[in-house]
Symmetry: C2
Subunit: 229 residues, 2 copies
Amino acid sequence: MRDALVAAAFRLFLERGYEQTTVDDIVALAGVGRRSFFRYFPSKEDVVFPDHERCLADMTAFLAASEEDAEPVRRVCDAARLVLLMYAENPSFSVQRYRLTKQVPGLRAYELSVVWRYERALAAYLRGRFAGRSDGSLRADVIASAVVAAHNNALRSWLRSDGQGDATATVDHALAYVQSAFGAGPNAPAAPSVDVRPESPEDVVVVVSRRGAPLWRVVQEIETTLGRT
Amino acid sequence: MRDALVAAAFRLFLERGYEQTTVDDIVALAGVGRRSFFRYFPSKEDVVFPDHERCLADMTAFLAASEEDAEPVRRVCDAARLVLLMYAENPSFSVQRYRLTKQVPGLRAYELSVVWRYERALAAYLRGRFAGRSDGSLRADVIASAVVAAHNNALRSWLRSDGQGDATATVDHALAYVQSAFGAGPNAPAAPSVDVRPESPEDVVVVVSRRGAPLWRVVQEIETTLGRT
């Protein structure tokens, strides 16, 4: 019944437009009563995002089940991947919804509030992990926000490709960028990695190294990089 | 007239509650007609955030006027400070509004859409600056989002202190964290700075250095830090 309501709603949204479709139209096409609709969905907007509540609950449970010594930035990146999985489960539905959301300001506002709730879930976990550290809440908010922005940049790029590209690889790449900025690298490299950010004329060299890495390896990496570029 | 409408609106919001106050109530107290209200504010929500449109326009103009070789991360941090200035212009009004916004879900949704527009303005500038670089749009989105999150973390902390603390210092500190993660440091240090992130048991040493810094200085900093901690 729930799936039938979603299918009917999207058929009408695409045929007539979102604003021109009423809940009565949806229930008539699905062959059910209004009360059945509102049993599943508090409003017409909610039928556009039928799985976000479940995904938010999954994310919260996933974070609550974290090992105590899990690397926190990696953990929130993994939590964000649950959102991608939801979109990738049904690419054609996700692409349709993406187009619809771009056209209807009310749906964009709804989506912003959903994104905000994901971000708050990630930040709450990080605040717990960073509790007692200096700037714990600041770090938690900034990292949660960066993770969501990276995830959504990759997700949108996949949706714009009509769901044709490799969603997982795109999101992994985007999240690796956040991990490199804030946490252990995605593969927790034992050897140092050197990243030259080309900020001409004020180039900055950033060296990220596990503390266990021998100093000569760090120096070697810096020398190689400076010589190479 | 505009200020009188804002003052009347806030007096009623605080006395009766936001939902219980109508535009008719506001114009009656301000002694003007409904049309005057809607000349200044498209809706009741807009009167709660009377200066965001001006601030968004200021931010866009500020970014458009950037020097071509401005360090881009620092530039968007400076742009974000314009929002702080708007709040700090009138602390008691900002604190009242903060309390109101926390209580009224509709205003929170409105605020999310405003924040999203600031973030898009910063990201648009960064996309231009990063055009043609690998991952330019990803970096732009992530950094814009991190800047907004840091700014808002500091702003909220100031608002929760009833506008008593030093708003500028709090925001500067928060933005310096983002600059250290993504760009040149806040004071563009010529000497390398070393930051140990205490991720026990997998501590990571992060060295940020201008490319001009001599290698021996970088090595010295790493040695000092590893020896010290």
